[in-house]
């Protein structure tokens, strides 16, 4: 008997595809937030992106199938639609990220002012390649497209924070600073974004931030130091 004959007869379209079980992990506050945000739009469906941000926070910084299912149920949309929308956007994570996700801009301007040297230094410091997570789950290193702070290249995004003017020399300090901090995790980023939709927002002491080393400042002008000419071109 062929293997084919042993397979159960499929009912075709009438038989539902396996779907993830919803875990209903949204807290009461999360549900309140979702309802308030949904009231901003004439259609409930428009709360899709904010709902996915809430889910990314509630499920610990990424979106497992159960999280997508919960969003589908709470918005009354098909699971396939939620997955289709979530997979379009790069900031929704389908897999867990490290406690700190270092996203190094290697787009046009950053790439000509030394972004790849920063990436290589980070690879050396963390012992992983771009696209990987350290075995201890502390850091994920990624190369990303333009973060639009080109005047301060090289730029790194970590959670909801931008670091500007990063060089191979000062990047080690950023890594050390992050090891001590719990403020810039993927879940915290999702939380900040959710709160931005709501009056009051998330209270962040911007002053303390702008005075931190290597942090963002409003006036972006600074002296430019061309990348060292001696350094061997990477990976040749």
């Amino acid at each position: 008997m062929s293997t084919r004959a042993q397979m159960p007869v499929s009912g075709g379209a009438s038989e539902p595809l396996p779907r993830p079980e919803s875990q209903r992990r949204f807290s009461e506050e999360a549900v309140r937030e979702l309802e308030e945000i949904a009231s901003h739009y004439p259609e409930r469906r428009a709360a899709m992106l904010p709902a996915l941000w809430i889910a990314q926070r509630e499920y610990g910084g990424f979106l497992p199938p159960a999280a997508l299912m919960e969003v589908a149920e709470r918005l009354g949309r098909p699971y396939a639609e939620v997955e289709a929308v979530a997979s379009f956007y790069t900031m929704y994570n389908f897999r867990p990220r490290g406690r700190h996700h270092l996203e190094v801009c290697t787009c046009l301007t950053c790439s000509v002012v030394g972004a790849f040297e920063v990436v290589h230094k980070l690879e050396e410091l963390l012992g992983v390649e771009a696209g990987q997570t350290t075995p201890d789950g502390e850091f994920t290193l990624s190369e990303v497209e333009c973060l639009d702070w080109c005047g301060a290249g090289t730029v790194i995004q970590v959670g909801d924070r931008y670091y500007g003017n990063v060089t191979p020399e000062n990047v080690e300090r950023i890594v050390e600073e992050l090891r001590q901090s719990d403020d810039f995790t993927p879940a915290r980023l999702a939380d900040s974004i959710v709160k931005l939709h709501l009056p009051g927002g998330r209270r962040i002491d911007m002053k303390a931030r702008t005075e931190a080393p290597a942090a963002a400042s409003v006036d972006q002008r600074r002296s430019f130091q061309p990348p060292a000419t001696e350094s061997a071109p990477p990976s040749q």
Partner: protein, 443 residues
């Protein structure tokens, strides 16, 4: 010529993000004046100013405002496009960080002129820090009666402004894709005029929708306070007012510079401290989407829509990038094409396939496998994308490649013949050998 600061006049005042300070420097006077005027008079003032959209296309702003139906049988919406994603551009980021009230004031004036009751600022997901300032400013504006019910005591003028955060997509900066994303869909562009009505007739939720860039809205309060004629006195015959250019790349003092439209391109470069690390090789004056301009063609080009067009490039969104003589144009364009291949939304075939093909060909060239026919093959793909894609992302992927071949064909030929860069230690550096199959950034 120096900077001409209209929007940035009070940028460096401490506390300008707070409503008290903003009001002390004349903030919300434009809105106060607007609500005493007829709605059409506000639109006429914007018309008199000659303001053109600052997001990249340079479309006359008043035409959009005037196109919103005068009856309110269906709700009207005002959208602010703060999904700044163009490589080389960071003006909206700074406007939101430093002058959030100015942006909000412009949006509320637009809401008054177009009888809109609801507005959304669509901010790219990465811009949490700028969005925090906008959030705070919205809350303060609400508490002062600049948002909410009967704004400034004007009966019937109710307006709510919401923040909608993106989640990482360049394509959502395209206005119809932004509307898709706002409605909770994949950020793909929608059918446009002449096959579908303009957004001013049927935009979000098929209702009349006004959408402008952050910088465009920030210009509006100044136009209301000082008059359209005052604004139109700045700039050139067809490019009025001032424009913020985000200067980056190989310059001594990168940053945002507000200059009068029509300022010579090389003067902007001088304002930013001139070229750093070598001699000027090329500039991209308006963000990664616009054609590259070699150094010897820069003299005589002014930063206004017409002069840039005559020189074969564009003002675009004002993302001015300068490159010194260590820059390898083929490697630079490889990186540009990688960006567009990554950001193409996949809706239409010319862009989805074409951007990936171009990146593969660049990859072949810089890994030493370039063929003499590759240059013409790239040009042929550009022709297949340009004008044939669903939205402007495809065009934007083709223009820089075509211009780089036009001006720097010898560098392509050098790569193909010698299988290495014509520059000893090029920028950007030669990439790691990549898989022949296109590998996009792992999610």
């Amino acid at each position: 010529m120096a900077e001409l600061k209209v929007l940035f006049k009070h940028r460096d005042e401490p506390g300008i993000t707070e409503i008290d300070t903003y009001e002390r420097f004349g903030g919300y006077a434009g809105l106060r004046k607007a609500v005493t005027m007829e709605r059409q008079a506000v639109i006429d003032e914007v018309k008199a100013s000659g303001l053109r959209g600052r997001g990249g296309a340079g479309f006359p702003t008043w035409i959009k405002w005037n196109g919103i139906p005068k009856d309110t049988s269906r709700p009207h919406y005002v959208l602010c496009n703060a999904d700044e994603g163009e490589p080389g551009t960071f003006k909206d980021r700074e406007l939101m960080l430093a002058l959030p009230h100015m942006v909000i004031e412009g949006i509320v004036i637009a809401a008054y002129a177009t009888q809109s009751r609801t507005g959304y600022i669509y901010i790219r997901g990465e811009f949490v820090e700028p969005a925090i300032q906008v959030r705070k400013a919205i809350d303060q504006a609400c508490s002062r009666g600049y948002l909410g019910r009967s704004i400034l005591g004007t009966p019937g003028f109710d307006f709510d402004l919401h923040i909608h955060m993106g989640a990482g997509s360049y394509e959502c900066g395209e206005e119809s894709a932004l509307m898709s994303s706002l409605m909770g869909e994949r950020g793909q562009p929608r059918l446009k005029f002449p096959h579908a009505p303009l957004p001013v007739i049927a935009g979000v939720w098929d209702c009349p929708t006004l959408i402008n860039n952050v910088e465009t809205y920030a210009c509006v309060p100044h136009i209301l306070v000082n008059g359209g004629a005052w604004y139109a006195a700045m700039g050139t015959e067809r490019s009025k007012g001032t424009k913020i250019f985000s200067v980056s790349g190989h310059v001594a003092r990168p940053g945002n510079y507000e200059v009068e439209m029509g300022t010579p391109l090389l003067e902007l470069l001088d304002l930013a401290g001139g070229v750093a690390g070598g001699k000027l090789k090329a500039v991209i004056p308006g963000g990664s989407s616009v054609p590259i301009l070699p150094a010897d063609k820069c003299a005589g080009v002014n930063l206004d829509y017409e002069s840039c067009q005559a020189a074969g490039t564009m003002v675009g969104s004002g993302g001015f990038m300068a490159f010194n003589d260590r820059t390898d144009i083929v490697l630079l364009m490889r990186r540009t094409s990688e960006f567009y291949a990554h950001e193409s939304c996949g809706k239409c075939t010319p862009c989805r396939e074409g951007t990936r093909w171009m990146f593969k060909i660049y990859d072949r060239i810089v890994s030493g496998g370039g063929r003499p026919s590759d240059i013409d093959l790239l040009l042929s793909i550009c022709d297949q994308i340009d004008g044939r894609s669903f939205c402007a992302l495809g065009d934007a992927a083709a223009w820089p490649v075509r211009a780089s071949i036009k001006h720097f064909r010898h560098e392509y030929e050098h790569w193909i013949t010698h299988k290495r860069s014509p520059i000893a230690n090029p920028l950007p550096p030669v990439p790691r050998p990549t898989n022949p199959m296109l590998t996009l950034t792992a999610r």
